[in-house]
């Protein structure tokens, strides 16, 4: 077997085990996968549409295209940041590429995200549909988002090995980023003098292709947003790979 095939087989087995173990001791089991995003979606939809009256047309679809990818980003980063440290004993016990655990965790979260996303999308789409072409090209933003989240998770998990503050910073930064990233409001609501905040925020650019394809599909804008998101994904993966190669022995020593 080639090393790539071995890696894929091990990732598949670990992802299946993660999915199985995650909700084994819970009563509601898989329902928890959709419960959290569903409740978050329902509450935010009520508050921002009816209480704060943001006045965004077809707000249900607008919120869906930002909030669910956001939940995926934040949950994956929070879970993956400590992963190498938590799996330290395992990593040192036998020679398995530590990235197997990281990729499997991202894959596990991606499957859960897709399940929740589909369950929320069906009623929202049937109530107020968007562009059919936008829906067809949706796998592309998903692929780029998953790659970017993997790159960032890899970088943060490696940093956590050396700086144990990382996970606290990630948790704190994500709670702030939720408000300064256009998740539940459109980017053009941001006053011009604060526009730089959204420009330098990479998470905004990762959400953009989702919004472009689901909410307001326009081919040129979609391709532009996808290209920016892909460039961010490449930067995250490149940085993580560079840092990983430079500190690999130290990672094994310090996990």
């Amino acid at each position: 077997m080639t090393s790539r095939r071995v890696f894929v087989a091990q990732v598949r087995a670990t992802t299946a085990a993660n999915l199985k173990s995650r909700y084994r001791q819970t009563i509601a089991g898989f329902l928890w996968v959709v419960f959290n995003p569903l409740v978050m979606y329902g509450v935010q939809s009520l508050v921002f549409k009816h209480f704060l009256r943001l006045g965004v047309p077809n707000y249900g679809l607008f919120l869906l295209s930002g909030l669910l990818p956001w939940i995926f980003i934040s949950q994956t980063l929070e879970m993956c940041t400590s992963l190498l440290v938590v799996s330290g004993k395992l990593i040192k016990s036998f020679p398995v590429n530590p990235l197997v655990y990281l990729v499997a965790q991202v894959a596990d979260n991606t499957i859960n995200f897709l399940a929740a996303f589909t369950i929320v999308l069906i009623p929202v789409w049937s109530h107020s549909p968007g562009s059919a072409i936008g829906l067809l090209v949706l796998p592309l933003p998903l692929l780029v988002l998953t790659a970017a989240v993997f790159g960032l998770a890899w970088l943060l998990a490696t940093l956590q090995v050396f700086f144990r503050d990382t996970r606290y910073i990630v948790s704190f930064a994500l709670s702030i980023a939720f408000f300064i990233t256009p998740v539940f409001y459109p980017v053009d609501m941001v006053p011009e003098k604060y526009g730089w905040i959204t420009i330098i925020n990479p998470l905004r650019w990762l959400l953009e292709p989702f919004r472009c394809s689901l909410y307001a599909f326009e081919p040129a804008a979609f391709i532009r947003s996808l290209a920016i998101a892909a460039a961010i994904a490449a930067i995250f993966i490149g940085l993580a790979a560079f840092f990983w190669r430079a500190s690999r022995n130290a990672v094994y020593l310090n996990v």
Binding site: N18, S93, F94, Y252
Partner: protein, 260 residues
């Protein structure tokens, strides 16, 4: 029965002047008095953690061919496990090279479970996926190992409920399932209860005898005599002895006495 995957007689493992160094941090006393004294003596030192380079293995060269079962001995901190992790590809040598051929398996802890929430059987399946990627019929391998472990109905109990002895039973049963070209075992006989240890020792010895090259890390002269036909003694990361078993054990015991 010798393991027949590799047919030629060339070396399975070649180490050429392997050096491995790590940067290490030293944590200082956090008392106010110590901090104040340090601040007065060396104001810049408060801004950085003191670092040093730890030389774990020094110029270790080794060649091993099929049939060699090498006992790796040395005092605590002599670099035995680190060298083996380097051979297993977990650490990359700072300088020098490691060349391996054929199928390699290595185990450094016999009480590992991958998912505490999953059952022993499910953990065994996952462990087999990690340890035996080349084996087609993993189902039979796992079922055979589970039967051997003697855990009975406990194989379907969550791994978090296992005692240390039960964890060792499961893990040892899996790791002793198949021979390979290069087998690295680090203190594998520890952990299991005495009754099971006898049973699993026979099974591990069978795998050891069927494998191409075996690296066997141990502090126990009896175990080294039982398993090995060559001994490598490490001292402060350097190869201090490489030769016949009895001479190697005598060298190690002299080294231990000198250190005391």
């Amino acid at each position: 029965m010798p393991y027949t995957l590799m047919s030629d007689a060339g070396p399975v493992l070649v180490l050429d002047k392997v050096n491995l160094t790590f940067k290490t941090d030293y944590y200082r006393s956090g008392s106010f008095r110590d901090s104040f004294t340090r601040l007065v003596k060396d104001p810049l030192s408060v801004l950085s953690t003191p670092r040093d380079r730890l030389h774990v293995t020094r110029n270790v060269s080794l060649s091993a061919k099929i049939g060699e079962r090498i006992g790796i001995m040395g005092l605590n901190g002599s670099g035995k496990t680190t060298l083996c992790r380097c051979i297993a590809g977990m650490y990359l040598p700072t300088t020098g090279s490691v060349e391996r051929r054929g199928i390699m398996r290595a185990i450094f802890d016999t009480s590992i479970g991958i998912h505490a929430e999953l059952t022993g059987r499910e953990n065994a399946r996952l462990l087999a996926e990690f340890m035996y990627p080349e084996v087609e019929d993993k189902h039979s391998l796992v079922e055979d190992a589970l039967t051997f472990s003697g855990l009975g109905r406990f194989v379907d109990v969550p791994y978090r409920n296992y005692s240390n002895g039960m964890q060792a039973r499961l893990c040892l049963s899996i790791i002793s399932a198949c021979p390979c070209d290069l087998l690295i075992l680090d203190e594998v006989f520890d952990g299991a209860d005495s009754h099971f240890r006898e049973k699993v020792t026979a099974r591990i010895l069978n795998v050891i005898r069927g494998s191409g090259v075996v690296l066997f890390v141990s502090h126990s002269p009896e175990q080294v005599r039982l398993v090995c036909n060559r001994v490598l003694v490490l001292d402060k990361g350097e190869k201090a002895f490489d030769g016949p078993v009895e001479e190697g054990i005598a060298f190690y015991e002299r080294l231990a006495t000198t250190q005391e």
